[in-house]
């Protein structure tokens, strides 16, 4: 159990996992050619942030758990963002018939 004398999983383990997930998300964000995959990479980054928040919340702020509330807000906003992102993607797909990021160059990038 948490905060017991022998804590099997240290805080750093969670933080490391979150860092890994965040960096994988960043790599995917830069290199994905499919716009849907870019959205997925952003979700990965947000999940990394949530792991961070939850870990801090239970290790350092166990009685007020503000990090958990923060995570709930992040989840809410991520859902709204995903919905809007997919609506925009759909409307772009109708015009361009592609989801390849490299072909979105009507505007000079």
């Amino acid at each position: 159990m948490l905060n017991s004398p022998i804590d099997p999983i240290p805080l750093q383990a969670y933080l490391t996992l979150a860092s890994l997930l965040f960096c994988i998300g960043v790599w995917g964000l830069i290199n994905s050619r499919n716009a849907v995959r870019v959205l997925m990479s952003i979700e990965l980054m947000l999940n990394a942030v949530n792991i961070n928040l939850m870990a801090f919340s239970s290790f350092l702020d166990g009685d007020l758990i503000r990090g958990q509330v923060f995570a709930v807000f992040v989840i809410t906003v991520a859902a709204a963002e995903a919905a809007v992102g997919l609506a925009i993607l759909l409307s772009l797909y109708r015009n361009m018939i592609t989801v390849d990021m490299e072909s979105f160059n009507l505007l000079r990038w």
Binding site: N3, N50, A87, L89
Partner: protein, 200 residues
């Protein structure tokens, strides 16, 4: 080490492995449908981590919202835009991948280094454990009331906006001049503004 502790450790290792391998799969697999399902797996594993952290409410929210809504939404989007397309090869793409990989590794080492060198305020206050859900509710209606209310506005607006953007019909008549608006846009710039929809 007690049985409880080692079980917890094993759970963490398994969930961590699922999260890392799954997310690598999400960004690397060529088939986007597999990526989407793997993403669902990552979300579930993250929910499992929350359970390990004694946060059952957020774990439930993670499953309901991320797996139940966001992931399904992404799958829908993939199905709606699933034209098979041959991606044009881009020069220097491989180099770009390697370079950005190196940058990400640098970022990763920086983040991990900071995670380990910082003296965190451990141990923190005693965890409230199963009362967490109640405490979240109290927070939402006291010091986080403003963001809570604002989030409702955000969701309403996102819903309306998504419907407006995704639906097909548009206003066909200019209300004032009663002219039919067939011109897609009023600014005719230098580029072809609207790709001809008749030719696929």
């Amino acid at each position: 080490m007690t049985i409880a502790a080692s079980t917890e450790l094993i759970c963490f290792l398994i969930l961590g492995a699922v999260v890392v391998l799954g997310s690598i799969g999400v960004v690397l697999l060529t088939n986007i449908v597999y990526s989407a399902f793997l993403l669902g797996g990552v979300f579930m594993a993250v929910a499992g981590l929350y359970l390990l952290l004694n946060a059952s409410f957020v774990a439930a929210a993670q499953v309901l919202v991320y797996v139940g809504a966001v992931n399904v939404l992404i799958l829908f989007a993939i199905m709606l835009v699933n034209k098979k397309e041959e991606l044009k090869p881009i020069k220097g793409l491989q180099l770009r991948k390697i370079l950005s990989g190196a940058i990400c590794l640098g970022l990763l080492s920086l983040l991990i280094r900071v995670d380990f060198t910082t003296p965190w305020n451990l141990p923190g206050p005693k965890a409230i454990g199963e009362d967490a859900t109640e405490r979240i509710g109290e927070h939402l209606f006291t010091d986080y009331l403003l963001p809570f209310e604002l989030a409702s506005v955000l969701l309403l607006m996102a819903m309306i906006g998504a419907i407006v953007l995704a639906r097909r019909d548009v206003l066909i008549q200019d209300l004032d001049t009663e002219k039919a608006i067939d011109l897609p846009i009023i600014e005719n710039g230098k580029e072809p503004l609207l790709i001809d929809k008749t030719s696929p």
